[in-house]
Subunit: 444 residues, 2 copies
């Protein structure tokens, strides 16, 4: 009897995947003939807006993640990395590890919400030497790196080397780049009181952005306010500046106006300048554009009935502008909700509804007690916006326990000094994407 159950598989444990599972779980609570399965590489939902705060240590690592199993208790959960999606045989296979065999799951309905990963646009030296700010591990590693630089700089007699150790370059003037720059600048300025040989002037946080302004999604007024605030706090912002390389010591840049090139001495580059869907999506047989799955107005993958895509890996066109919507958590959640409803209609043989979406606004923290918020056509900035940011995100956190912890973190940050303990950890090696076992076999 169990095998007769219809299976809905959701791939991805980000905002889109978890939201979709939540809504489906609710809608299908009485349908015992349907099993909902969620597959995710991590067993937690990452609260991405607070990543920069983990990088600066204001918020503790585990306080911005919520175990997926605790959110969707009636959904079958698989921790695993998706290897291959076959929409013809309706199968999904997961990567194995030396300790755990791979697995193949069959589905009747599929939701692809595999998100995106950092895009270095083919620049290998940057991929090898730059830091990322996309996952929880990235944020932890950036924090430890910054403290490492402080420790090294404090005992460095040569002033030029000291400056290069304390120059942090952030590539990308979008949300992630600006928030990271603000947090790290605050952290460095607070932390140096424990490093007697480092002076304020040794520190330099630089943002490099190829566009003519930072925060392209916001109103020009808020972007300008942010830029002025950041410059006042000592952050350098270089617009129309493209990064062309980074060997671990020197960043090469190009001014896009006059095409002149320049160099910057630094040991630490944080790359926030682009994302791209994961390889699994790119090499799937779905129709894609720039790696993103092309979807119809019901959010179905072009040509595959009952297969939906949402979030960063789906190409969702705004019919009013004919341009793709920018990839935000808000969009992902709206899509997830629509997909859950459409899937339900499909199962019940009702007709599906088209996806409609109007962004509700956006907000960012740009430094200590300063934020920007754009909502209902209103632009709010400064401390008011910062408080609003904290309020909204605290309410969004779907776990009472983590909410209490976050409040405690913020409270302690206001009361006590920064923690400068440095852990010596690194990202665990991801599973090899292409196994070379066959090649090795030939050796024998």
């Amino acid at each position: 009897m169990v095998d007769m159950k219809k299976k809905i598989i959701i791939l991805g444990g980000g905002f889109a995947g978890v939201e979709c599972a939540k809504h489906l779980q609710k809608k299908l609570s009485k349908s015992t003939d349907i099993e909902i399965i969620l597959v995710s590489e991590d067993n937690f939902l990452l609260f991405t807006p607070m990543l920069p705060q983990v990088a600066s240590g204001t918020v503790q690592t585990r306080n911005i993640v919520i175990p997926i199993r605790t959110i969707i208790k009636k959904v079958t959960f698989y921790e695993g990395r998706v290897r291959h999606i076959d929409p013809v045989t309706r199968q999904v296979s997961l990567w194995g590890t030396p300790e755990k065999p791979g697995i193949t799951l069959e589905y009747d309905y599929l939701v692809v919400a595999l998100g995106s990963e950092t895009n270095f646009f083919g620049m290998n030296d940057l991929e090898n030497n730059a830091f990322r700010m996309k996952t929880l591990n990235d944020a932890v590693i950036v924090r430890n790196r910054i403290i490492d630089m402080l420790e090294q700089a404090n005992n460095e007699p040569d002033p030029d080397t000291r400056k290069s150790l304390l120059t942090i370059v952030i590539v990308g003037g979008g949300f992630a780049g600006i928030e990271t720059a603000g947090e790290l600048n605050d952290f460095l300025n607070d932390a140096i009181k424990y490093y007697p040989k480092i002076i304020m002037n040794d520190i330099s946080v630089k943002v490099l952005e190829a566009l003519p302004s930072i925060l392209p999604g916001f109103s020009p007024k808020l972007a300008e306010f942010t830029q002025n605030q950041m410059i006042q706090r000592g952050i350098e912002i270089n617009l129309r500046t493209a990064v062309t390389g980074f060997d671990g010591n020197i960043v090469t840049t190009k001014n896009l106006d006059d095409q002149t090139t320049d160099i910057l001495h630094t040991k630490t580059v944080i790359w926030t300048a682009g994302v791209t869907p994961t390889n699994t999506v790119k090499r799937s047989i779905f129709k894609t554009e720039k790696g993103k799955i092309i979807i119809n107005e019901y959010l179905e993958a072009d040509g595959y009935k009952g297969v939906f895509a949402a979030g960063d890996c789906a190409l969702c066109i705004d019919t009013s502008t004919q341009k793709p919507f920018p990839p935000t958590a808000q969009l992902a959640e709206a899509q997830a909700k629509r997909i859950a409803a459409n899937l339900y209609s499909l199962i019940k043989n009702n007709s599906m509804e088209k996806f409609t979406y109007a962004p509700r606004g956006q907000m960012a923290v740009i430094g200590k007690r300063t934020g920007i918020v754009s909502i209902f056509g209103l632009n709010i900035r400064g401390m008011m916006a910062w408080l609003l940011w904290r309020n909204v995100y605290l309410k969004k956190m779907p776990s009472m326990s983590k909410r209490a912890r976050l409040l405690m973190d913020w409270f302690q940050d206001a009361l006590f000094d920064r923690d400068i303990s440095r852990l010596k950890i690194m990202r665990a090696n991801p599973i090899k994407e292409y196994e070379t076992l066959q090649v090795l076999d030939d050796f024998w």
Copy 2:
């Protein structure tokens, strides 16, 4: 003028090193002609008694470490790993990294407090496959491992494999082993409610100990109480059992009474069965016994005036029993205090005092709301001892902010469910102990 300063170098940032620096800083606060230098591999003091609680997630990672720079603000701090101690030329050299050159420091007085590391007694397969519980990274990695096993076991159809995934073997029935077993057993029992396919019977936590009883330092009564408590909670305790190998899947054991051998199926072995001083101390020219520096009654290294040793790397004989004192934080701190006083006497040309020590007692947490305490000849056990434990260690924590955080962690642990988020991190590679550059050079 600066070069005329006399230099005291303290090697090691554990309880011994930091305590010694604290006392010297106080005593020498008016002596501008003396510089105190502390060298430590990590820039924080690790509060080791709470490591098992980090492994079980009751306490958050960063809440049991205090940045050294914040404790001893007038001491010059070097984050680095000691490469070589030369007591003849009075120099200490630190390892470099590809990014940072090595460095050589000169001293007038030296305190060696380099602690110890896990000792596998030459069993390479255990060294490669077993987990440790000595550093903060070890505890974090053990936590992630246990959650990994839960995730894998939940989707494992074969009951034998599932049992082997959920069998956790802890080698060593001392402090670390018993506390770790208690914490992990509690964690597993709490966490399985989120893993619908795992039942209580699948879980097995086993302690293997070569001696005829656990907790050799405690009174037989408390040890017996602990053993009964743990068995009641489902923990298996195998005495007179030596581990002879572990290939990642199978542990081989030997019963020391009847010399029979046995095997255990498990993927996770946590080794807490021995420590040994670091290589730097072992290959130094100090007189050592079992790797530990032989010290005289003033805690000076045999034959080297003005060079002291304390903590796990020093061989300190109890004159009343003619046996070495067991290596505890308490002993390390008492030695550090005596060394600081003796160093001060040496500098002021006064006579040094002999080291005397009487242990004040000891305590352990053995599971949820249960502890054992032995103090002033009294044996306390159960909830009372558990509360005492928390009180004492909370007071010992030398940071208001961390104390508040710990209280909050404990409060939250009582109120909310366990956090089962698994981070994918690993220990950063240590600096290569023996560089092979010379050999490579021959290639060219």
